[in-house]
C-alpha cells in the first residue's frame, strides 16, 4: 500500500505566527437531516457527537463540524475513514443521507502563536473577538472558500486541496515578520 501525501507535504512557515500544513487528515462530508434519530446514535457509536448549529464538537481524536442545516463535516484519522464510512452506511442504512470521503479533497492548516488571530484577521472577514469557543466559521480566506475554528491555542483552517498552494501563500504573506497589526 502506498502512503497518502497531503497537498503540500507538510510545508511550514515561521513568521510572527507559525503556519503548518497538516495532514493527510480524514474527512467525510455527511449530508443528512440533523433531526433524523439514527444520526445522533450512529455518530456516537463512531466516536462523534452531533454539533450545535455553527459549532464543532470534539471527541478523542475526531470532530464533527456543523456546515449547514443538512451537512456535517467529520474529521478523523485518515486511516479510520474506510471503517467510519462503513459504520455510517450501516447505521444510516434506512435514513436518507449521503456520506462522501473528502479526505483528499481538502487541505488543512494550523496557525499557531500568540498573534495567530492577526493572520486570520487579514484574510477572513470575521470578527475574531466574538468567535465563540467551538465555533466553526465558514468564510473565505482572501479569494477562496475556507472554514476555521480555534483549537489548542491556535486555529485550524480547512480549504480545498487544489488551492492549498494559494492558501499557504496568503498565510505566509499575512504572517510575515514585521506585519504584526
Amino acid at each position: 500500500m502506498h502512503n497518502p501525501v497531503s497537498a503540500l507535504g507538510g510545508e511550514m512557515f515561521e513568521g510572527f505566527a507559525t503556519i503548518r500544513e497538516v495532514g493527510p487528515m480524514g474527512m467525510i462530508t455527511l449530508r443528512c437531516k440533523m433531526d433524523e434519530k439514527p444520526l445522533a446514535t450512529t455518530l456516537k457509536k463512531l466516536g462523534f457527537s452531533l454539533p450545535d448549529q455553527r459549532r464543532i464538537s470534539h471527541g478523542k481524536d475526531r470532530s464533527a463540524g456543523w456546515m449547514s442545516p443538512d451537512e456535517l463535516l467529520l474529521i478523523l484519522p485518515y486511516a479510520d475513514v474506510a471503517a467510519t464510512m462503513e459504520g455510517l452506511a450501516s447505521g444510516l442504512a434506512k435514513t436518507h443521507h449521503l456520506a462522501a470521503d473528502v479526505s483528499d479533497a481538502r487541505a488543512m492548516f494550523r496557525i499557531e502563536g500568540e498573534k495567530a488571530d492577526q493572520v486570520l484577521a487579514k484574510l477572513c472577514p470575521v470578527d475574531l473577538k466574538t468567535l465563540a469557543p467551538a465555533e466553526l466559521r465558514r468564510t473565505r480566506a482572501a479569494q477562496v472558500a475556507a472554514a476555521f475554528w480555534a483549537q489548542d491555542g491556535g486555529y485550524t483552517l480547512v480549504s480545498f486541496r487544489s488551492v492549498a498552494g494559494y492558501v499557504m501563500g496568503i498565510l505566509r504573506h499575512a504572517a510575515a515578520k514585521g506585519a504584526e497589526i
Binding site: 497518502p4 501525501v5 449521503l98 462522501a100 484577521a121 477562496v144 486541496r161 506585519a179
Partner: protein, 981 residues
C-alpha cells in the same frame, strides 16, 4: 524667504538631521519634519508647476488639502507620483522631484501657455479640437498629453507589500482631534468597542497648534492625558497614520494605514487597508480653511493662514520674514499673533470686514500689529515668489491705495467643515448662513439598515469650533465663529483681476473661467465642474469647491444652497492602487488550482493553458519542438501507442437518494434513472431555455447513487445548479449531492497499448469481457485503490482511472515508469481537442456558446422523446429553436487541405440591411489533423446535414475566402471499432 526659526517646533527633533534631495539638490531637514516643512526650511518655495498654464506653484497648505506641492517621491521600484509634500513625513535619504515641468522647475517652456491664457479659457479643448475628427487621436491628443500630466507613472514592479485587515467595532471615530478623542473617551468609558483613526502621525488636530484651552488645561496636556486614558482601555483601538477613506452601506468603512511610507524598506507592509464594519461612525474630521480669491493668489508665498501657524508652531519654519495677513474672519489674527510672537514681522492685517473687534483682533492690535478693515488685496506682486501686495478697498473695484513689500501672504476665507465621510453614503448638507459653509444636516443623515443614522459628525466637521462646545457636546449659535462671506476680492474686481484669481490651483481654474461657464449656459454645478475641470484634480477640490460654486451661484444670480455641491466620493485622499489590491499580487494575485500532478507537469516542460482557475498542460514540448509539433507528436503517439492525460480537473458530483434517478432525469435531456448499476452513459444538460449547458458521462454507482462527470469549467456551476433546483424548487425530493471533484486525481490511459499497461501493472481484470466499453469497476492497480471507467473522449481504447488525490502523483509516476515500454507519453489539452475533433465529439464552449441546442449539434439521440419533462424540453420546442432552418453541426473539409480560421463565417450571397455580408454558418472547431494529415473542422451550417457534399465558402482572417466541403463530422474510425476494442 522661508527659513527655519531658531526656537520652537513642537514636532521636530533638532538633534536628528535628515538629509534628503529635491530635484537632485541635497537639503537638510529634521526628524519630525514633513517634506513640505523641510522644503520651506530650505527656502524652497517653488515646488511645482500647474497643470495647464505651468504657473509656478508653492506650498499653500500643511495638510491633505494641499493642491500644489505634489512630488514624484522615491525612485525606480519605489517611485510614487503625486505625493503631497505636506503629508509626506521626512526620512533620511528621501528623494523627491517636482512634477509637470520641462525642462526644469525654474525654467519651464510650458509656461508659454500662461501668456496665452486668454486664448485658453474654460472648455478650450472641447471647442477647438473637434474638427477634423481624426486629428484628435493622431495630432491633438498626443501633443496635449505631452504638455499635460502630473507625475510620471512608475515603470518598475513595486518593491513593497500591502495587506488588508478586517476589523469590527461598535463605534468608529475618524479624526483624532479634540472632538474625536472626546468621542472615543465617551464611547470607551461606556464599554463600547471603539476604533479611533487619525490620518496624521500626531493626535490633537488644530487645538494643540493653536494653543487652545480644553477643560482648563492646555490642549497639549488634555490630548496627552486623553490618549493615555484611551490606551489603557482594552476596548479601544487607536491607529494613527490611518486615513478614513470612504464610508459605504451598512457601516462599512475603508481606511488606509501608512505603515512604512516614512520607513521605506524596513520590511513592514508599506500600507494596510482596514476594512471596518462599524455599528456607528463618528466623523470628527475637522474643517479645511478656504483661500480668498484675489489676483495673484497662486503666487508662491501665498498660503492659508492656519497652515502658516502649523509651520511656525509645529516645525519652527517661517514662510517669510514679512507676512501680510488677509482675512474675513477673526481666526486669521491668530496667525498674525503667532508670527509676531515668533519674532517675525506682520506689516498689516487686511480685513475685508468693516469691523473687527473680537478678542483676537484686539490682541493683535495690542501687540502693535497694524489692522486695516474694509481692505483687501488688489493684486499680489511677484513671479516665482511673493514680493509684495497692492491694497485696495474690498468694496471697490481694485484701485490700488498702497503697496506693501512682503515675502508671504497668509489668507483666510473662513472654514469648510470636512463633510466628505458624512456625504459618501447619502448624508445631506445644509447651508449655514452664520458660518457661510455647508454643514451636515443632522435631520438627514446617511441611514443604516434599520433606519438609524449611520454617521454623525462632531467638532469642526459639524461646524462646532469652540472646544468648550465640543467637550460639552453643545452647539452654540456660532456667533463667535460667524463668517461674512468674501467670494471675490475686491467685490467689484474687473476681468483683468478676475482672470488672475485662482480657484483651483492644480487644474488652473480661475474665477473668470467659472463665470464664463455660467455665461455659456452651465447652470448645474456638476456640469460646470466637468467643463472647467474645477475640483477634478488629485485634491478633488478640497480648497476650490466652495469658492467655485459660490462664484457660480453669484454668476447665475442664485443662492448657494440652490446651486448645491458636487458629489463627495471616496476616497477622501488618494489611495495607491497597490494598497487597494492588498495581498493580491505576484504568486497570490489569484488562486491557482493545481491538480495532484501539477508539479510533474511543471518539471516536464508543460506549456500551460488556463482553464478557469486551473492550469492544464496544453502540450509538453520537447527540446527544439514548436507547440504545434509537440501536439502532433502527442496525437500520433496516442493513436498509435499510448497517451496519458491528467483529467483530474473533470467535475465529479455524487447524487444520492431515493429521488436521485428522478432528479437526474429532470437535469439531463436523456434518461439516467434506467442506467444499470456498473454502467456509464453520456448525458447532456440544458438550461430552461433549451440551450446546451454541460455534458459528461454519468456512472450508476449503486441503487441510490449516481456519479455525474461535468466539464472542467462546469463543476462548481453544475453543482450550484443542482443545489439551486433541490433547495428552491424540488425541496421535498430526497436527493443529496456532493461535489467530490478534488477528492480524485483522474488519469486517462488512452491508445492501443492502454490495456497492456494496466495488465502489466495488475490488480484487477481490465479485459474487454470483464470491463467492456461504457462500464466501470472498483479495484486496485499496482496497489493503488482505483475506480476504472471504460470511457473515451478520443475514440481510442481508453480507461479513465480515478484515484484518491493523495495518491495521484505517485500513480501518475507509476504509469509513466511502467508504460515506457509501451510508448507512454503525456498529452495535453490541445491533443485532447484534436483527438475528439477527429471523432466529431463536441466540446462545451467550442460547439456551444449558450445559443446552441442539442438538436443543432445532431445530438437528438441523447434527447429523450419519452420523458414527460426535463429542463429545457419546453424551451427547445419553441418555434425558433425548432425551426428546421437553423444552423446545424457538420464536418468541414477544405478543398485544398488547409486549416480553416477559428470562428470563420460561411458567407452567403448578398448583404443584410446593415450592409454586412450575409452568412450561413460558422466554424466552431478547427484543427490540423496529424492522423489524417489535413485540416479538419466542425461548424454550424444552415441546413447543414441536408447539404452533405456541397461546397461552402468561409472567410479568412486576412481577407478572401476558402472553399470547404460539407461532410460528416466524424472524420476518423466512423464505426468506433478502436474505442470498443
Amino acid at each position: 524667504m522661508s527659513t527655519r526659526l531658531q526656537k520652537g517646533g513642537r514636532l521636530i527633533d533638532r538633534s536628528t538631521r535628515a538629509e534628503f534631495t529635491f530635484n537632485g539638490r541635497r537639503l537638510i531637514g529634521h526628524a519630525g519634519d514633513t517634506l513640505a516643512s523641510a522644503l520651506l526650511a530650505n527656502d524652497q518655495m517653488l515646488v511645482g508647476r500647474s497643470f495647464k498654464y505651468h504657473r509656478p506653484r508653492g506650498i499653500v497648505a500643511a495638510g491633505p488639502e494641499e493642491p500644489n506641492a505634489l512630488v514624484n517621491l522615491g525612485r525606480a521600484d519605489r517611485l510614487e507620483p503625486n505625493q503631497r509634500a505636506t503629508t509626506t513625513e521626512l526620512y533620511a535619504g528621501l528623494e523627491a522631484a517636482s512634477q509637470n515641468h520641462w525642462p526644469s522647475l525654474d525654467f519651464d517652456i510650458g509656461v508659454v501657455n500662461n501668456y496665452l491664457a486668454r486664448f485658453l479659457p474654460a472648455g478650450f479643448y472641447y471647442k477647438t479640437f473637434i474638427h477634423p475628427r481624426a486629428a484628435w487621436k493622431h495630432l491633438f491628443e498626443p501633443i496635449i498629453r505631452q504638455s499635460a500630466g502630473l507625475g510620471s507613472a512608475p515603470k518598475e514592479t513595486d518593491a513593497d507589500r500591502y495587506e488588508f485587515v478586517y476589523a469590527f467595532c461598535d463605534v468608529l471615530i475618524i479624526g483624532g482631534g479634540i472632538a474625536g478623542l472626546q468621542a472615543a473617551l465617551t464611547a470607551g468609558q461606556a464599554g463600547k468597542r471603539v476604533i479611533l483613526l487619525e490620518q496624521t502621525a500626531h493626535w490633537g488636530g488644530r487645538a494643540v497648534v493653536d494653543g487652545d484651552t480644553v477643560e482648563n488645561e492646555s490642549a497639549e496636556e488634555w490630548v496627552t492625558s486623553a490618549v493615555d486614558a484611551l490606551k489603557t482601555m482594552e476596548n479601544v483601538t487607536l491607529r494613527n497614520r490611518c486615513m478614513g477613506a470612504g464610508v459605504y452601506d451598512h457601516g462599512y468603512v475603508l481606511a488606509n494605514e501608512r505603515l512604512a511610507d516614512h520607513t521605506p524598506g524596513d520590511g513592514r507592509p508599506k500600507q494596510r487597508v482596514w476594512r471596518i464594519r462599524a455599528g456607528h461612525i463618528i466623523s470628527a474630521t475637522g474643517a479645511i480653511e478656504r483661500p480668498l480669491s484675489f489676483a495673484g493668489n497662486d503666487i508662491p508665498g501665498v498660503m492659508l493662514a492656519a497652515s502658516v501657524r502649523d509651520y511656525v508652531v509645529n516645525y519652527a519654519v517661517s514662510p517669510g520674514d514679512r507676512t501680510v495677513v488677509v482675512t474675513n474672519n477673526d481666526d486669521a489674527y491668530l496667525t498674525a499673533i503667532t508670527l509676531v510672537e515668533a519674532g517675525l514681522s506682520v506689516p498689516v492685517v487686511l480685513d475685508a470686514r468693516a469691523q473687527a473687534d473680537g478678542p483676537l483682533p484686539s490682541r493683535a492690535r495690542a501687540l502693535g500689529i497694524r489692522v486695516e478693515t474694509g481692505r483687501g488685496i488688489a493684486s499680489v506682486k511677484g513671479g516665482k515668489r511673493v514680493t509684495g501686495v497692492q491694497i485696495c478697498l474690498q468694496a471697490g473695484e481694485g484701485a490700488v491705495m498702497e503697496e506693501i513689500a512682503c515675502d508671504a501672504v497668509a489668507m483666510s476665507g473662513g472654514w469648510s467643515p470636512v463633510v466628505h465621510l458624512w456625504s459618501h453614503c447619502g448624508g445631506k448638507l445644509i447651508w449655514s448662513e452664520t458660518l457661510s459653509a455647508f454643514v451636515p444636516d443632522s435631520a438627514r443623515p446617511p441611514l443604516n439598515h434599520d433606519g438609524s443614522a449611520m454617521v454623525s459628525c462632531v467638532g469642526a466637521a459639524a461646524g462646532v469650533y469652540d472646544p468648550a462646545d465640543i467637550i460639552a457636546g453643545t452647539d452654540s449659535d456660532g456667533a463667535a465663529t460667524a463668517i461674512v462671506p468674501v467670494w471675490m476680492m475686491p467685490q467689484g474686481a474687473p476681468i483683468g483681476l478676475r482672470s488672475k484669481m485662482w480657484l483651483d490651483y492644480q487644474n488652473d481654474v480661475k474665477v473668470s473661467d467659472v463665470q464664463l461657464a455660467a455665461r455659456e449656459g452651465y447652470e448645474s454645478v456638476e456640469h460646470t465642474k466637468r467643463y472647467t475641470t474645477l475640483g477634478m484634480a488629485t485634491d478633488q477640490g478640497k480648497l476650490s469647491n466652495i469658492n467655485g460654486l459660490a462664484v457660480l451661484s453669484q454668476a447665475l444670480g442664485a443662492e448657494i444652497p440652490q446651486v448645491g455641491t458636487t458629489t463627495f466620493r471616496p476616497p477622501y485622499t488618494p489611495v495607491t492602487i497597490g494598497a487597494l489590491a492588498g495581498e493580491a499580487r505576484g504568486e497570490i494575485f489569484q488562486p491557482l488550482r493545481r491538480t495532484p500532478m501539477h508539479d510533474w507537469h511543471d518539471q516536464n516542460g508543460a506549456y500551460w493553458e488556463p482553464v478557469g482557475l486551473w492550469r492544464r498542460p496544453y502540450c509538453y514540448p520537447r527540446a527544439g519542438e514548436t507547440h504545434d509539433q509537440a501536439v502532433q507528436r502527442e496525437v500520433i503517439n496516442t493513436r498509435e501507442k499510448l497517451g496519458l492525460l491528467d483529467a483530474s480537473t473533470l467535475g465529479k458530483i455524487i447524487v444520492k437518494g431515493p429521488d436521485a434517478g428522478r432528479f437526474l432525469d429532470m437535469l439531463y435531456t436523456n434518461m439516467m434513472s434506467n442506467l444499470a448499476v456498473g454502467k456509464c452513459r453520456y448525458g447532456l444538460m440544458c438550461n430552461e431555455q433549451g440551450f446546451l449547458s454541460d455534458d459528461g458521462v454519468v456512472a450508476r454507482i449503486d441503487e441510490d447513487t449516481w456519479l455525474c462527470h461535468t466539464t472542467s469549467g462546469g463543476a462548481d456551476r453544475i453543482h450550484g445548479w443542482m443545489e439551486d433546483w433541490l433547495q428552491c424548487e424540488w425541496w421535498d425530493w430526497k436527493v443529496y449531492t456532493a461535489n467530490v471533484t478534488e477528492q480524485y486525481a483522474q488519469v486517462a490511459v488512452v491508445g492501443p497499448n492502454a490495456r497492456k499497461l494496466l495488465e502489466k501493472i495488475g490488480g484487477m481484470d481490465v479485459s474487454k469481457e470483464a470491463l467492456p466499453f461504457m462500464q466501470w469497476a472498483d479495484g486496485s492497480l499496482g496497489g493503488f485503490p482505483v475506480r476504472v471507467y471504460r470511457i473515451s473522449f478520443s475514440g481510442e481504447l481508453s480507461y479513465e482511472i480515478a484515484i484518491p488525490a493523495s495518491h495521484g502523483a505517485a500513480f501518475w509516476d507509476m504509469l509513466h515508469r511502467e508504460g515506457a515500454e509501451f510508448g507512454a507519453m503525456p498529452y495535453g489539452t490541445e491533443c485532447l481537442h484534436v483527438l475528439r475533433a477527429e471523432k466529431g465529439f463536441i466540446m462545451i464552449g467550442d460547439e456551444t456558446d449558450g445559443t446552441v441546442t442539442p438538436l443543432d449539434l445532431g445530438l437528438g439521440w441523447a434527447v429523450s422523446k419519452k420523458k414527460a419533462d426535463f429542463l429545457g424540453k419546453r424551451g427547445m420546442e419553441r418555434t425558433y429553436l425548432a425551426d428546421p432552418e437553423r444552423w446545424k453541426l457538420v464536418g468541414l473539409e477544405t478543398l485544398d487541405g488547409s486549416v480553416l480560421s477559428d470562428g470563420a463565417y460561411a458567407v452567403a450571397p448578398g448583404t443584410n440591411e446593415n450592409g454586412q455580408r450575409n452568412t450561413e454558418g460558422r466554424v466552431t472547431s478547427t484543427y490540423y489533423s496529424p492522423t489524417l494529415k489535413k485540416g479538419i473542422a466542425m461548424g454550424l451550417i444552415k441546413n447543414g446535414p441536408d447539404r452533405m457534399g456541397e461546397v461552402v465558402e468561409l472567410n479568412k482572417v486576412d481577407g478572401g475566402t476558402v472553399k470547404a466541403r460539407i461532410v460528416d463530422a466524424v472524420f476518423f474510425d466512423k464505426e468506433g471499432e478502436k474505442g470498443n476494442a
